[in-house]
Symmetry: C2
Subunit: 338 residues, 2 copies
């Protein structure tokens, strides 16, 4: 294993290679336990016979308001989605606020209102919380942590080790909208068409999928690090290869244009309302039909397949027919995207 740097780098929060380093070299050895070692989007626990999922995320998005949402909306949707992709019905959230002295009360109210609205949309309750205020300059306006508890859906078994060669990989819609929306707002870019974050709660869609297609092997939401990083994690955990077809990957032309202009790769951009599904080929149509009936997943499609070869790796068949190895995100493309 390579040597850890002596200081925390922005990349340690990227969701990519350096984040993994931090988890594997510091967190796992210190906190060692089974639930953490599974390295899912949340822990799966059993308390007095009841099966639960438990997850947390802190949100530091900059700027805190962006096309399609704000930090409050993100804080509820992100944690709801992490519970959903564990195979759980999200039920209860906590909310921990760290506020900067001088933050406008009107903005704070608006952020809290968005949280309430998203909680209602997702059917969860925000039942406990905490507010700290720090002096001017000790936080950038507002950071929010949400943790969530959900009830595992009976009969569902979402696990990387159920990903097998031959399965299809489905993405629920256009990639990169969230990252580009936030980035454009941050830098005041004037784009030909406004790009809006995809931030949305996915739990109702996912619950419908898992009820009607309980055979689904694996789910994951491609947030920080994007599709490529998420698939790399799964390929390693499952001991399989992944073959993606660039022609099939849904990216809006306007997002592609911004990426081309600024040198971003849409496959590494964060999404906040998308899910990746691994399922046997013969069940793909069934999954897609369910997805296409919804607004959030109307553009869902198969983007690739699981292979036996190239275990632990993700390969992209490019538009011009070449093969490109997609590594995990190293460093950080866009800090503070969520």
């Amino acid at each position: 294993m390579h040597k850890m740097p002596e200081q925390i780098l922005l990349g340690h929060g990227s969701g990519g290679r350096l984040s993994q380093d931090l988890i594997k070299n510091i967190m796992l050895p210190a906190f060692q336990n089974q639930a953490l070692a599974e390295m899912h989007d949340g822990a799966r626990l059993t308390i007095n016979g009841t099966k639960l999922a438990f997850t947390t995320d802190s949100y530091v998005v900059k700027p805190r308001f962006f096309p399609g949402g704000n930090i409050g909306k993100l804080a509820v949707c992100g944690t709801v989605n992490d519970l959903a992709v564990c195979g759980a019905q999200p039920l209860y959230l906590s909310a921990g606020f760290i506020l900067e002295e001088g933050l406008s009360m009107a903005e704070f109210r608006q952020i809290v209102a968005s949280m309430a609205e998203m909680a209602a949309a997702a059917g969860v309750e925000i039942v406990t919380g905490d507010t700290k205020v720090v002096e001017k300059g000790a936080v950038d306006g507002i950071y929010i942590n949400t943790a969530g508890v959900g009830a595992m859906l009976p009969g569902v078994q979402i696990a990387a080790n159920r990903v097998k060669p031959g399965q299809d990989i489905i993405v629920s819609g256009f990639l990169g909208d969230h990252a580009i929306a936030v980035m454009s707002e941050r830098h005041g870019l004037t784009l030909p068409a406004q790009i809006v974050s995809d931030c949305a709660p996915l739990n109702k869609l996912i619950q419908k999928l898992l009820t009607e297609v309980p055979e689904i092997a694996m789910l994951r939401d491609p947030t920080r690090g994007g599709l490529a990083t998420t698939l790399n994690e799964i390929a390693v955990d499952a001991g399989v290869g992944v073959m993606l077809d660039e022609n099939l990957i849904p990216v809006r032309p306007e997002v592609q244009a911004v990426c081309a202009l600024l040198g971003f790769d849409s496959l590494y951009l964060a999404n906040e309302g998308k899910v990746i599904v691994f399922v046997e080929k013969e069940l793909s149509e069934k999954v897609l039909t369910i997805m296409h009936q919804t607004e959030t997943a109307g553009a869902a499609c198969v983007v690739g397949t699981v292979t036996e070869k190239m275990s632990g790796q993700v390969v992209l068949k490019t538009k011009i027919g070449g093969l490109r190895l997609l590594d995990m995100l190293s460093g950080e493309q866009l800090p503070r995207i969520c």
Copy 2:
């Protein structure tokens, strides 16, 4: 109700009057639900027949290392204690880190090691987490959020409405050590004797108390806002008065000396390893005997009683025999104490 200020003030994070304003005027109306409205240290929930407690706190203590602990130790003990005073056995914690680019990896390791050590001491597992890194200046080194899930102890009914006139109020030990230890470190004070934070997990003590004295009516840990603020909250919630005897309140002479010098009031100082117990007079001795057998509560004593008169108020019988009304903390004595 008075008008809310147009900006967030440091006092909104004090745990006192302004914190209550924020909760009552913004959070409760937005998130309205039963568990939140109970305003305990955590939410009490039932999922598929299993009774749980769920709580969260963010930790922003400054400086992050202080005599007797660091931000990591605090982040585990604080959330463990919040679950314990709900009447639950703490089981699982989440950890959400917000790190500043450039934070020393050695310091981060030390903080994580303290978390692991405290989790082991308390018998809980840190099962899920998240790490965000923000650019230099966007956070002061490291903030940590922990959320916790616990199993409610059977037969236990900790509730403000069980607090009744005639009951004794017990405090488990010396007040103010944590606040003065942090404050001294922050300002580089040279004190005649070093004061060490009382930060410690209380769950084993509390579980023993609740098992042997299930009649205990109410528990609360007097953190931000101190003993006076915590008792004010309970007095209002329970619709009773509280009469404290200054001669009985345990404060170390060296803490009292710093308070006298700097104008702090020990009754409003944060504690991180103390619990307040409300129990019928005839059971006080039993509670004290259990406490005195432990290291963390060796100095436990009765500090006052619940009264029928002065409902919703806390009155201190001073050393010279006068009566002083102790209001809830207004404003902020010591920001970033936890």
